[in-house]
Symmetry: D2
Subunit: 144 residues, 4 copies
């Protein structure tokens, strides 16, 4: 699991006094930097090799301005060329938001998806979360 | 169906030369203004009565800087207190992005979900899209 | 003068119920698209030839969620290689925000500023605003 | 001086491969949180007492994706009810961006500006930067 701490800013808060829903995709993207490093350690746009295919975000409880937010990042699924990143946003010991993002390892020159290399699979395996662990995480939050 | 035309700006484009994935939730939110008007015609934050529960976004093809984007907005599902907004982003006759957003009619004072009033159901029914129509929309795009 | 109409979205509003200050640079950038077209009609990033050197923004009065905003764009100063874009945001017949942005015509290959070509100067001259006109614009707003 | 470290995200980068100009106002706002705490320690929107009157931003050199950015924040001017925040963005030992923001201590109920209380003046004085120090900061960067 990777952890990133984010300080909400005044502009992130909307007219209802909570972090707006449109802010979360950016926070989750920021927290995926370390996953992107697997595929492109120099962050070289000319040799970029990932495509973001989809994401879904569940807003479980509100996020507020006055406390830092922790983004937790895992790998939840690994396919031949694609994988899923599972992310949670926590504030004040409460699970607030859940994000799942599907990315595809892509060969931009050949214009087709490419197998994930074994050395990256190894790194991913160290940050894997299972379906059972995801369920437990949600359950723990309910009790809290 | 509601239609909103959006002009991409320089800042929306990322290092790969395409509209970044984090931009779409904002465009979709902008295009939902007319749905929000059903529930709160004056856009009064003190009497706001909607909660955004979740969204999912599928990135089908890239969006570019140099042409306007059309956001099409329908209602795809209506429940007792919640409903789903189905949205498509089109550019240059190509379906680029699909968004589904679940919103809940919520009574903030009582802190619980509230039945959607009949007069709003009527308005929603005029902008309904069926599962069959969604399939056809994707199919038409493939042929194009 | 160029005019662009913008519909504020829910996310643009901050905890005080007004459009947040960080939103304006994006709106002004969107409204500068037509100026960028002078220099790069195809919006081709590989042959981009402008650098944004500075901007200043004055927040005269608040912008709200429930009405469209008009961004008015002029050229306020032309130098050898640089120029200033003057922009105003209006809502409900009220001048809300004033932006001044300095851009430099830049040769990225030679890595130095480049003279503005005569055919672009001509286009700019059609959208020029004088210091006297800027003063009058502010004065008209005070009376309103 | 306050220091805040920010990790650029993929979406912050524009089509030229650099952090886009519209990103900086948000980073500077985030770094002003500690100044806002002087005036509203609980970050309570209902008792908010600051208005952002203007800002200007100078883009001295480009910011990139692959390294953290440090935002340095000082107070550069103190008036009766208003003050100026001076901020610099640094990356890889290079001064990249300079921001100056004018804020006004404001009584929203009375709808007029309010004198800055002595205990806040004291806190501000601890983070003051002089015009000479600002000049020296720019000079140091040129040599680097």
């Amino acid at each position: 699991m990777y952890s990133l701490s984010i300080t909400p800013k005044f502009a992130d808060i909307d007219g209802l006094g909570h972090v707006n829903n449109t802010v979360l995709p950016g926070w989750f993207e920021q927290a995926r930097n370390q996953i992107y490093r697997y595929f492109n350690p120099e962050f070289d746009f000319k040799n970029w090799n990932l495509i973001l295919a989809r994401y879904e975000i569940d807003f479980v409880s509100q996020l507020f301005y006055d406390q830092d937010v922790e983004i937790k990042t895992w790998i939840s699924h690994i396919g031949r060329s694609s994988f899923e990143v599972y992310q949670e946003a926590w504030q004040n010991d409460t699970l607030s938001t859940i994000g799942k993002t599907v990315l595809v390892h892509f060969d931009f020159k050949a214009q087709k998806s490419a197998k994930i290399p074994p050395e990256i699979l190894e790194q991913m395996n160290e940050h894997l979360i299972t379906a059972a662990e995801i369920l437990a995480s949600k359950h723990n939050n309910k009790k809290a």
